[in-house]
Symmetry: C2
Subunit: 400 residues, 2 copies
C-alpha cells in the first residue's frame, strides 16, 4: 500500500491528537518564558494599582493655577516610598516623586523643570509659570488595565513583556500548557554511541542526538532516550520503561521498519497492530505507526537523513503548533540548478537559500548524506510526478 | 549632556565588548542545541566510515553482469550487523543489507526487487535481468565528507541537523561559546515581589521578571537576580555578591538614575565614576553606565516600559549577536493612525502588526503602560525631530 506524504501526515496528526491535547500546569514566572498560556488570564487588579505621578515635580490642584505666575506654599512631600499622603490642602503644593501616590484633592502634577522654589521665613514656596489641566502628569488608577480585564489571551507564547505584565499585576505563577513528553528509542545493532571506537561495520548513532534535539527545538521535552540492538524483547522493554518511568506522551523510534531480514521495530510491533506502510516520498519511504499500551508510536526509517526529514515533515509541525510556535516557513524559491527526480515519489532534496529568493541544491539525494543535510538550510519539495525541473523553475521550499 | 540613541548604543557596545568577547567551553551534544560553535570543526573521520550498501539486495561485480540474464551462486550474506566480510569471489553474489559493508572485489549492489532467487542441489542462486555499472547502489567511503574536511563552520548556531552530523562523525562534545552571564539588580523601596500583598504606594516589581526573561530570550544566562531597596550600601553589596558568587560578565540595574532625591544607583555609582546621561528618547531618557570592580554595568530607568525598551534597544542586540541569533527584524510599515511626537526625542511607541505591512498604535506613550507593551508586538520608531506623522506614513518598526 502506497500512501502520499499528505495522507500520512494527516494520519499521524489524528493518531497524535489525543497525546497533543493541551493539559495545563502552573509554573513560576521565572520558568515560563516561551511557554504557552493555557487560558486567558484576567487581571486581579487595576494597573496602575493607584493614582501616581508621572514626573518628579509638584502635585497641585489645576484650579489653583488659573492666574499665572502663581506661588504656592510647599506643604510637604510624597516620595516613591510607600505612603498614604494626606489630602492636598487647596492653595498649596506637595513635592512628589515619579510613581508616588498623588494625594487626594490634587489633580495635576507640575514637572520640576517648570518650577522654581524659594525659601522665606514662612517656609518653602514653589513658583509655577505655566497652567495645567486636571490629569496632567497623573497616571490614573486602572489607566493601563482594569481589574477583570484580560491581561493575556489564551494560547499566547510568553515573551518577556508578557511575563512582565503578569508580575506587574502581582501574579507569580501562570497556567501554561504542559510540554509534550517525547520518548525516543533508536534501534540498530550496528550503531554505537559517539565517542566510542568503531570496528568495521559499526556506525555512530546520530538519530538519537538528532531526534532529541529536534523534539526540543519543536518545544517538546525529551522524556527519555534509549538505544536498543535489533532485539524485539529489548525494544519492547525499552518502550515499557519509557512509558512507566517517564510518562511519555508519545514514542518515536528509528530504524527497523523496512523490508530486510532484521527489522526489529516491524517484528516487535506488527503483532501488536502496527501499520507499516510505504510513503510515496524520497527519502523516508518506509514509515510505520503503532499504539503501544495506549500511547502513540511513530516509527521512522533508520537512515539518518530519512529519520531527520521524517520527523521534520510528519511530527515537528504538530509539536510546534502544540508549543504555540509559528509553523516553519514554506516559501517558493527559484532553482539555480536543474533537478532530476523520480515519478511517483515526492522528493525532499537539500538546498541552501541564496539571495533574491533563489535556492541551490546541496549534496545529493541519498539518505546517508548527513553532512549534506547539515550544510543545507532548506528542503526542496519536488512534487510527486515531476521527473525534472530546469534551472529557473519555481519550487516550494521548507525552512529547516 | 544629551546623547542620541545611536550614540548611547555605540557607547554600550564598546563598554560591553570585552565582556562579550567569545570564550569557549566544551559541552556534550545533548546540551548543545542552540549554542554557537566556538571554532570550525573538522571531521576526524570519513563519512560514511566505510563503503556500504544503499539497498537491500546482492553485492556483485558489475563486470559479471555483462551478459543478461545472468544467474550467480549466492556465496553468503552481509547483514547490517558489524562484520568484516571476505572478498567477493568473481562470478558469485553476496546477499547484503542496507548499510552493510560492501565486500572487497564487489563494486555494485543489485536491489532485491530486480532479482529472483532459486535453490538447486548446488545451492542458492540469484538471477539478474538488468545490468549495473560500478558504484551502483554503493555508498563510497567518504562520499558525504572526508576526514579533515570542515564538518561545521565557526559561529554556527547549532540546530538538530548540525548535532546529528557531529554525532555521525563520532564526536560526543562540541566547543561552543560560553553564554554571557548577566546579573540583574532591581532597585526601589516601593517595589514588592509578585504574590505579596501591597499597601498603598507599593508596586509589584516587574523589572526583575522582565529583564531575566529578556536576557534569556537573547541567549544569555541569568547569573543572579536581586532586588534592593533604595539603599546604596545594599546595592553595592548586592553587586559585589553577584560578581563574587556568580561570575557575572555584566550587571544590569533598573531604577535610581533620574534626577529625584532617592536615586540609589546614581548615588552609589557616580562616586565610582558612573556616567549618568540623558538620551534624546522617549521612554527611557535617563540612562547610565559604570564599571564596577572591572565589570561593566548598564543602568536602566525604573519605569517598567522604560526598563524593558532600554534593554531591547541597547543590550538585546549585543547579546543576540553574541549568542549567534539573528537580529530582531526591523522593517518599514505603514501607519494606520496619525502619530504625535516630541521634537528632539526619538519616540518608541508600541504598535501591533497588521496585514499588508501596516501597523496600528497600541496603548499610549507613557512609560507605565506595561499592559499596553504586553499587547504590542512592534516598536514604532519615530525619528528625533518628527513632531507628527499622518496615517499612511511609513515608519520604521522593530519586532519585539
Amino acid at each position: 500500500m502506497t500512501t502520499t506524504v499528505d495522507e500520512h501526515a494527516a494520519y499521524i496528526a489524528a493518531l497524535l491528537a489525543p497525546a497533543l491535547t493541551p493539559r495545563s500546569e502552573s509554573v513560576p514566572l521565572a520558568d515560563a518564558l516561551g511557554r504557552v498560556t493555557a487560558r486567558a488570564i484576567v487581571s486581579p487588579v487595576d494597573l496602575p494599582l493607584f493614582r501616581n505621578s508621572q514626573m518628579d515635580g509638584f502635585a497641585v490642584r489645576a484650579a489653583d493655577l488659573a492666574t499665572l505666575p502663581v506661588s504656592l506654599p510647599i506643604a510637604g512631600e510624597v516620595s516613591a516610598r510607600p505612603t498614604d499622603p494626606p489630602p492636598l490642602v487647596a492653595g498649596t503644593a506637595v513635592r512628589i516623586m515619579t510613581g508616588a501616590v498623588v494625594p487626594d484633592e490634587a489633580d495635576a502634577v507640575v514637572p520640576v523643570e517648570d518650577t522654581t522654589t524659594s525659601t522665606t521665613s514662612d517656609g518653602e514656596t514653589v513658583t509655577i509659570n505655566r497652567g495645567r489641566v486636571a490629569g496632567d502628569c497623573v497616571r490614573a488608577k486602572g489607566s493601563d488595565l482594569r481589574a477583570g480585564d484580560e491581561l493575556l489571551p489564551a494560547e499566547l507564547r510568553l515573551a518577556s513583556r508578557h511575563l512582565a505584565v503578569l508580575a506587574a499585576a502581582g501574579l507569580d505563577v501562570v497556567d501554561v500548557r504542559q510540554r509534550v513528553r517525547v520518548a525516543i528509542v533508536t534501534t540498530g545493532s550496528e550503531l554505537i554511541e559517539p565517542g566510542a571506537t568503531p570496528t568495521l561495520g559499526q556506525v555512530f548513532d546520530s538519530n538519537g542526538t538528532a531526534l532529541a534535539a529536534a523534539a526540543r527545538a519543536a518545544g517538546a521535552v525529551v522524556a527519555s532516550r534509549t538505544h536498543v540492538a535489533d532485539d524485539t524483547a529489548a525494544l519492547l522493554a525499552a518502550m515499557r520503561v519509557a512509558l512507566a518511568e517517564t510518562s511519555a506522551d508519545l514514542i518515536l523510534t528509528s530504524g527497523g521498519i523496512s523490508m530486510g531480514d532484521y527489522e526489529v521495530v516491524r517484528e516487535a510491533l506488527e503483532p501488536l497492530g502496527a501499520i507499516v506502510t510505504t510513503i510515496a516520498m524520497q527519502p523516508g519511504g518506509p514509515q510505520a505507526t503503532a499504539v503501544f499500551e495506549g500511547t502513540p508510536v511513530v516509527c521512522f526509517p533508520g537512515n539518518p537523513v530519512s529519520t531527520q526529514l521524517s520527523f521534520e515533515i510528519f511530527v515537528a509541525p504538530l509539536l510546534r503548533a502544540t508549543a504555540g510556535m509559528p509553523p516553519a516557513v514554506r516559501a517558493p524559491r527559484t532553482l539555480t540548478t536543474p533537478v532530476r527526480s523520480v515519478a511517483g515519489k515526492r522528493q525532499f532534496l537539500r538546498g541552501r537559500a541564496l539571495a533574491g529568493g533563489r535556492v541551490e541544491l546541496v549534496s545529493g539525494a541519498s539518505s546517508h548524506l548527513v553532512a549534506g543535510l547539515a550544510a543545507s538550510d532548506l528542503l526542496v519539495d519536488v512534487p510527486l510526478e515531476t521527473e525534472s525541473l530546469e534551472a529557473g523553475a519555481t519550487v516550494q521550499t521548507w525552512e529547516l
